[in-house]
Amino acid sequence: MVQLPWLLLLLPLATAALIHFALGGSGRLAAWTGTASAFGMLGLSVSLLVGATAEASPFVWLETGMFHPDLEQAITLSLKTDRLALSMMLVVTIVGALVHLFSLTYMAEDKARPRYYAGLSLFLFSMTGIVLAGNLFMMFIFWELVGLSSYLLIGHWFTKKSAAEASKKAFLTNRIGDFGFLVGILLIWGAFGTVDFNALERRVDLGNLPLTGGLLTAGILCLFAGAVGKSAQFPLHVWLPDAMEGPTPVSALIHAATMVAAGVYMLVRISFLIALDPTAAMTIAWIGGGTALLAALLATQQDDIKRVLAYSTLSQLGYMVMAVGLLASQAAYFHLFTHAFFKALLFLGAGAVIYCCHHEQNIWKMGGLAKRMPLTFATFAIGTACLIAVPYVTSGFYSKEAILDSAYAASRPLFWIAAFVALLTAFYMTRLVVVAFLGKARSQYARDAVEAPTPMAFALTCLTLLSIVGGFRFFAEAILPRGFYPTFDSPHHNFVMAVSIICLLAGVVASFLLYRGREKDPLHITPLRRGLYIDDLYTGLIRLFQDGAAAVAAAFDRHILNGFFLGGTAALTQAVGSVFRRMQPGSLHFYLVLAALGIMLLIWATSTV
């Protein structure tokens, strides 16, 4: 009997292997195989959601006796197929399938299509693994795999230096977060003796808490570090804008809808832990809020259509993380759910624009596209409406209201930050639409643009529909876990809504007035354009660290030990004086002295009678 969840997990892996090993020669075949497999996954996850048996027996991967003699537990590759996982799976597979469809035309002329589709399938495999993971350890493994496949996809055009650099940056930045994650997992393991979600939750429910105080805070924050890396929160946000070097459908899939949301998904999974520790929760909330604000500010000054969207993604992820920190993980997850559709829609719309403008990405070289690409414009506009949360008709409105509601209830400063971010969102998205789609065409490419081809248009239309219905109760409640759909019955709801509508209007109107009919950007705030110099700071720090660590290690070797005991460079010899003057560095001698000192210390440290 084939267990459907396992099939769902292994199907993309098999596809990736098939494409990589057997279909390497044929781009066309690889494309269709990949797309078919993605739709197959969609079918599987729908059937799982509507009631096919989701049982999946665990697969023992490591006897933990090897790791932990006291616990008779094994590290298993177990799948957790609750409603949370299945609804997330639906999001992943819908966006994945549509992105595959979109890529059929977008990547049609690419020579390395087999590599691209193998990468996409590998990504879907890793993402499925994260979503269905039954324990933190398994999640970590797929966490790493997702990083790897994202690295491969960002660097798809690796001959382009910026793409290669961007993929490297994404990889390394993620590693920092992942190490925090690993430490967190170790801490949890060390304290609870298990990393299984069900077992952990049972322990917490029973009030059996081996980890308390600072250690608990540290553990949660370490796990959060993983989310900081993957969901590109401050201060590790720098990789996401650069990751836009990858093909646009990849940006839509990975850097808008799924992978970056994995951090939030993980936080929602462990929300029962976060709820235990207010300090950690508040830290998470503030990092989320800060990221939302920072990214929204930066987004107002970007000229590259994809970078605007990237910063907006950052900002929305910040919203979600903030909500998790405010212990409103239902709201966070609901926003994740709606955001996935409309952000994928926006990215694919941007992809269509880029495709039709011959890979021009600067919005100031577009203009007037509304007339030439009416369908793309319409879908993009709807996506924008969702993002800026136009009341009642868009899905983004419902989820954002849910977050704002919870923010108002939990922390006023964060609520006002969130409201200001909403204003900024309305501002920069209106700017984007006005500059790129309205007015006159400002380049030859924009003048020659034609409507997107049918598969693209189909994908856009599907996502538009989902973007609208995604927020409606009948649709969302059918998919989301019970109790995740917001009720909007708080006493201050009307005030919150009024604030958000005022912010929306203010942002749209200001932007419209400022940008309508402009030929070039009337605002020019250099710090915002340069990402507040955070990137430069990191580059400097990395250089400092690399050189510094190497220098410290070398100096330790040469000067401190070698120099102090045996004399070394001229400078040190001078400093220490005439005692060392006649000496020359003799490294074998140094080794012998070091060994003798080591023996002396060993004996001295242990055999004091």
């Binding site: 023992v60 991967w61 490591l62 006897e63 006796g65 090897m66 790791f67 932990h68 003699p69 006291d70 970590f140 493994i141 790493e144 795999l145 790897l148 690796f158 290669a164 490297k168 390394l172 590693r175 920092i176 190490f179 690993l182 430490v183 170790l186 801490l187 393991w189 060390g190 690399q546 660590a549 190497a550 220098a551 410290v552 290690a553 070398a554 330790f556 070797d557 490294s587 074998l588 140094f590 080794y591 012998l592 070091l594 060994a595 000192l597 080591g598 023996i599 210390l601 060993l602 004996i603 440290a605 242990t606 055999s607 004091t608 009678v609």
Partner: protein
Amino acid sequence: MSPHYLEIFVIGLALTLLMADAFFPAREKRVIAWIGASGLAIVFGLLFVVDPAALPPDTIAPYYSADPHALFFKGLALIATIFVLLLGCDFMPVLRRGINGADNDRKGGVAESFILPLFACAGMMWMASATDLIFLFLSLELVTISFYVLVASMRRQVGSLEAGVKYLLLGALSTGMLVYGITWVFGATGMTKMSQLAVAVPGMTDNIAALTFGSMLVLAALAFKVGLFPFHSWIPDVYQGAPTPVTAFLAVASKAAAVLVLARFLDPFLNNPEIAAKLIPVLGVISGATLLFGNLGALGQYNFKRLMAYSSIAHAGFLLLGILGRDFTLVSFYLGAYVCMTLAAFFAISIVRRSVGRDDLSAFNGLARRNPALAFTLVVSAASLAGVPLTAGFIGKFGVLMGAVNAGYWPLVAVAVPAAAVGFYYYFKIVRHMFWEKPDDLEPLPVGRLSTTALALLTAGTLVLGFYPRLLERAIQDAPIVPIPAATANTADTP
């Protein structure tokens, strides 16, 4: 068949080849490596049919054990030696130049480079079985002396000789420490057999100072072999100067055998609460310092062999952490993984060295374009050395960290995790050179069929162990680290 025939077969093979080399001067010495490797492969097969119970009870069993750990390490030593011989085949032109100097057309002189590893292999197999300190001393010395010769064997190159001298002096010092340490352990207990020590030491309350003193000296001696701070200092120089196959052999087999011996030796002492109270902090400090020194030292390296040397120091730190966590199954797994990934890296080094003539990191520039398959194997090996999930190295590192967490060594975990993170940085440097740096020339880099097979096997091993670690886990059975034969009490101790 009694397990002690395994080493005798290896020695017999070595002596036969030595004779054959003298009497039938073949122009092409490759044959010797081939015969050696196939002979060892047969011995490896015999590992699965030996019967540990068949040991002669009076003459062999008192100091020789064929417990699961010993058999596992014998297998590891055999596999490592087989691959080192194949590596030597590939490296022969360089070896020949190093041995014969400018006299380039001479083909001879390399046979001993293929025969001495066999002796060393037998020595390591004996080490793995040693449960008697005298026997341990002798087998360790057999390995060490073989390595003195092997390291210095490229005698027309100053680097090799210099490495030889450095290894010689520090090795001789470690021999002195070993003997003096054994002496004091004997002085405190009157015993030289580890199985007796394992019974007697945990409950001892007399002569604790002498016992600790002796164990510290033996620890220092073994720390030399394993490469633990502050006895690690020979490693970078010797690894750089020695011929690449010998470096690989030192890094893999010699270290693995020494780790087993270290764990075996320390076990009784760690079971004595009074000694353990002094020993554990010291071991912790050594492990932490080794991790820091290895990983930080590697950051500034631009020679691949030196980088691997520091990396091997760093791994030694992790291995000691594993020993401290008292889970030897895990240490065995770590070593198995380490053998696969390190050998693969050394194969890549030797291939590049042979065609580019250098082993700097810059020699690997653009390898991804010159030979994508080779670059891929090196990526897998670097990833595994760094501990990327789904490679064997990850399981090893994760497990060791887990063990430390379970044992409550939090300060060590706090050192080990950043150390591992730093590791990512310098292993990534290798990847960067292969994928992003411009090569000097774009000629495809040829790899012989032999190396291709070996690399494929090693890479497959690294990945399979990462995906399905239970494969090796099954080979390593859980057994007491110091085997105590039932007959110990009755065997004669005095004439």
